[in-house]
């Protein structure tokens, strides 16, 4: 089963920090149900966010994952949380 933001509130909080910083978004607007569009996050902003996530959590995020299909902040956080958790649970991680 996929792990969601609600299962790991601490990790979700850290991811929101990255979205706010790299996406240059107002923190109050970065709610879970805020759409990517309403935050004016363009594809290059998502690139910057994913790159910062890779740096911060020392994971590789493939470019053909579900990250680019995220419709809102919750989707994005879930996709990232799920990926980080899977990567970190690999035996060689």
């Amino acid at each position: 089963m996929d792990i969601t933001a609600l299962d790991q509130p601490e990790l979700a909080g850290e991811i929101i920090d990255v979205i706010v910083k790299e996406g240059m978004v107002d923190r109050e607007k970065a709610t879970l149900d805020a759409t990517i569009e309403s935050l004016d996050l363009k594809s290059i902003d998502i690139v910057m966010i994913l790159t910062a996530i890779e740096e911060k959590f020392d994971v590789y995020i493939p470019m053909d994952g579900p990250f680019h299909d995220a419709k809102n902040v919750a989707d994005l956080i879930n996709a990232i949380t799920n990926h980080i958790t899977k990567e970190k649970s690999k035996p060689d991680a």
């Binding site: 363009k42 594809s43 290059i44 690139v47 994913l50 790159t51 590789y60 493939p62 470019m63 053909d64 680019h68």
Partner: protein, 405 residues
Amino acid sequence: MRDARRIIVTGMGAVSAAGLGAPALWHAAREGRSCIGKAQFPRPYRGRIKIAAQVRDFDPAAHVTPAELPFCDPVTQYLFAAAEEALAQAGLAQAKPMGPRTATIIGTGIGGMHTLDNGLHLAIVEHGRPDPLTVPRLIPSACPTQLSIRYGTTGPCFAVASACSSATQAIGIALQLIRAGAVDRAIVGGTEDCVTNSAMLAWEALRVLTPDYCRPFSDGRNGMVLGAGAAVFILEEAECARVRGATPIVEIAGYGTSTDAKDPVRPDAQGAAACMRNTLADAGLDAEEIDYVNAHGTGTTANDMTESEALGLVFGKRRLPVSSTKPIHGHGLGAAGALELVVTIGAVCENVAPPTINWRGVDPKCPVDPVPNEARPMRIQAALSNSFAFGGINASLAVRRAEAA
């Protein structure tokens, strides 16, 4: 005014992942044969994207003299080979010096990327002594100036550096110079080789490279593949070419360009549509007269969606055959428009729309007829070739069958 001076192509040449020669490139495109493979680098490479359409087994000594070689990055070497082929076909191999009525205009996004990569590694990592010819070899303008020196072309000479629209703009501006009467002939085209260690890593960081297959306009597409190479064309004013008995291959009927003025990386459908409309107007062609479009079609989510929308704005609901041959020869960046003009000319000359390979299903956001997976024999009197670049620079060329000219 346009009717006064028509511009024809009398020769073309190419070096690409398909090998040496314009025919090799066209045949690979027509047959849907991908030339992408595992990328090779002179030093250890840590990138996660392992594939590219590199020029392989190129022998510089076969095309570049020992005196020229120290001044030639691989991009200039490819250009020499492509120019030799183009001038031979045009019947101008012995026409040296070509003089002040010939322009030399070459598009390249970066210029000597291999020289940069090697030079920086030598200087910063190895603390070595730089090659004294590093600068003259890497400057983008080395591409056209080396040609001018070899062929004695003393007319206008410059490089166009408009990223992925470079070659198309170089060819287009030459068309305008000939049409305006500033010159009678031009050696034009594009060249690029950014398949180097650092450039591949930089492209990977942008997250636009596919780890597996480039599948333009297709459901499930996930990015582009870098390609390398060069293509050169001899453009001539039709009457000058006729007088010397040259055979026209096709007419370059029109050129159009536009600028989005919006976003450094995100393409814009309105800007792309304006570019295609400008091209049609310049060529004096109606949208209905275009039979085939060789798309920019990078295989990225954003480009293909936006280009499809733009094509809809220009051509309406008509199911116009639109293919991208980038899964064959890769995305040649500054050379892309030249490599794809070779393919577009092939399509017009042989009445075959080359396929978009690796296509596996409809993406509702790309409502075009992508000529999926197999070439389509069809009547092609006129065709369009699109190039769209970072920064929002759009450029297109319209090609028309020579006998229809």
